[in-house]
């Protein structure tokens, strides 16, 4: 049986697991953005917060992914369902690039622009929403892009704790020494990662301030 044949025969399951994979990555990226951008803004505006926030995110990043999934297993409520666990772990991993790029993007805004804005009587909120965030947007987006691409890869490991996604094929294939199964997981995952990279990269370029 060649690989195209295999793909056609199992297309329903491939589509299903791809969608599961997308769900894991999508929802965890959303959480990472919702938590990471405010934390990035906070550390850019309050130097005191900078080290603890970025330091913590950094440390999380160094925990091997399989170990992190394992650590989280005994946590009540979370441990009940594997997908919750996977989403939490992926969110934690995605935080660092989002926080760091938000921080870098905001710190990179020309001080003269900020001084002029402040001198004109913009409130802190107006300055943030109308000046800092729009100018930092492309840098923040590039952090999100890194987070998504890394998550697509990491999410395959989530199958190890039964959270589903394309990793299912890969683990099954490894266990059965079946290359076609491995590829059925790896190829769609690679396509997902590449298209996310390309799509977000394109958006990032469009939003880059002149």
């Amino acid at each position: 049986m060649n690989i195209t044949h295999f793909f056609l025969e199992n297309r329903e399951q491939i589509v299903e697991l791809t969608l599961e994979h997308l769900w894991l990555v999508g929802i965890s990226t959303l959480f990472a953005v919702l938590i990471g951008i405010p934390l990035g803004i906070l550390s850019a505006h309050r130097p005191l917060w900078n080290k603890p926030v970025l330091g913590t995110a950094n440390i999380i990043q160094t925990i091997p992914s399989l170990a992190l999934f394992g650590f989280l297993l005994p946590v009540p409520w979370l441990g009940d369902r594997a997908d919750r666990l996977a989403i939490l772990a992926l969110t934690l991993y995605s935080l660092l690039p989002v926080i760091r790029n938000t921080y870098t993007g905001i710190r990179g805004v020309d001080p003269a622009v900020l001084e002029a804005g402040r001198g004109m009587g913009l409130t802190g909120r107006q300055l943030l929403l109308q000046v800092e965030l729009p100018l930092a947007l492309s840098v923040i987006l590039s952090g999100i892009r890194v987070a998504v691409v890394v998550s697509v890869g990491l999410a395959t490991i989530a199958a190890a704790i039964g959270a589903g996604g394309l990793g299912e094929f890969i683990f099954r294939g490894l266990a059965m020494v079946n290359n076609q199964l491995i590829l059925a997981g790896a190829i769609p995952a690679a396509i997902l990662a590449l298209s996310a990279d390309f799509g977000l990269g394109w958006l990032e370029k469009r939003l880059r301030p002149r």
Partner: protein, 270 residues
């Protein structure tokens, strides 16, 4: 002389001449306790252009930023229109004061029109009114109306600074603070903008505080020159008296300035 007469004339027509800006024994100390300003007493009258002249680090910019409360005095008080700035709403205070800096600080992601119209827009003006105001201001600062849709990076240095001035004037503030606005421009553009500033100021009659380290600019634009050195105010004099001042620092400035001219004529002669 003419300037002094106009000033006297103003005083007669507006009897209670409360200074528009007043420094009362103001000090400013950095968080690391390094003093930048001390014992500053200074009054700026309505409609005058007060030039703060001094070397880098003399405290000119600090003095300027104390007016719109980008900095808060460590001692004494600054009053704007008779009200201590510490008592006023800082956002309202800043919106009532135009602010122009050397780096201009135009918002790079906004068109010229949006840059100029930002404060009016926040102030709730209608789009139509903002549009008319922008057109009017572009004309006032000598820019073509078709520049309105450009982005700052598409403008020359001189054009950017003109937009900066237009932006500061947008909501028609009575006070204008200018921190070496023409310092980064080439000599010819600077000369042109200084000339335009003078004619603009004649029409608008704003109260202007202007920071520069250039005596020539100070003599040309100022109704009075406040000379600063090492965080202290040395003297405040109208230009005509400044050039004859016996104060050693003022004299040094004048001498350096004249020295520059002399050396040119000497070179021409030899």
């Amino acid at each position: 002389m003419v300037r002094e007469e106009t000033a006297r004339h103003d005083m007669e027509t507006n009897p209670p001449t409360e200074p528009v800006i007043e420094f009362r024994d103001v000090a400013y100390v950095l968080p690391n306790r390094q003093p930048l300003l001390s014992g500053l007493n200074l009054q700026v009258q309505r409609g005058e252009t007060l030039v703060l002249l001094g070397r880098s680090g003399s405290g000119k910019t600090t003095t300027l930023k104390l007016i719109n409360r980008l900095l808060t005095p460590s001692g004494g008080e600054v009053r704007v229109n008779g009200i201590p700035t510490s008592d006023s709403d800082v956002i309202k205070l800043r919106r009532s004061i135009g602010y122009v800096i050397q780096e201009v600080g135009l918002f790079p992601h906004f068109t010229v029109e949006r840059n100029i119209g930002l404060v009016p827009r926040i102030g709730g003006w209608t789009t139509e009114r903002i549009h008319r105001r922008v057109e009017e201001l572009l004309q006032l600062v000598g820019l073509e109306a078709n520049l309105a849709s450009r982005y700052p990076h598409q403008l020359s240095g001189g054009q950017r600074q003109r937009v900066g001035v237009a932006r500061a004037l947008a909501a028609d503030p009575a006070i204008l603070l200018m921190d070496e606005p023409f310092g980064a421009l080439d000599a010819l553009t600077r000369d042109q903008l200084q000339r335009e500033f003078l004619s603009l100021q004649q029409g608008l009659n704003k109260t202007v505080v202007f920071v520069t380290h250039d005596l020539r600019e100070a003599l040309r634009l100022g109704s009075r020159i406040a000379l600063m050195d090492a965080g202290r105010l040395v003297t405040v004099l109208p230009p005509s008296e400044f050039v004859r001042s016996s104060d050693s620092l003022a004299a040094a400035y004048v001498q350096a300035f004249e020295g520059g001219l002399d050396s040119v004529s000497n070179r021409g002669a030899s």
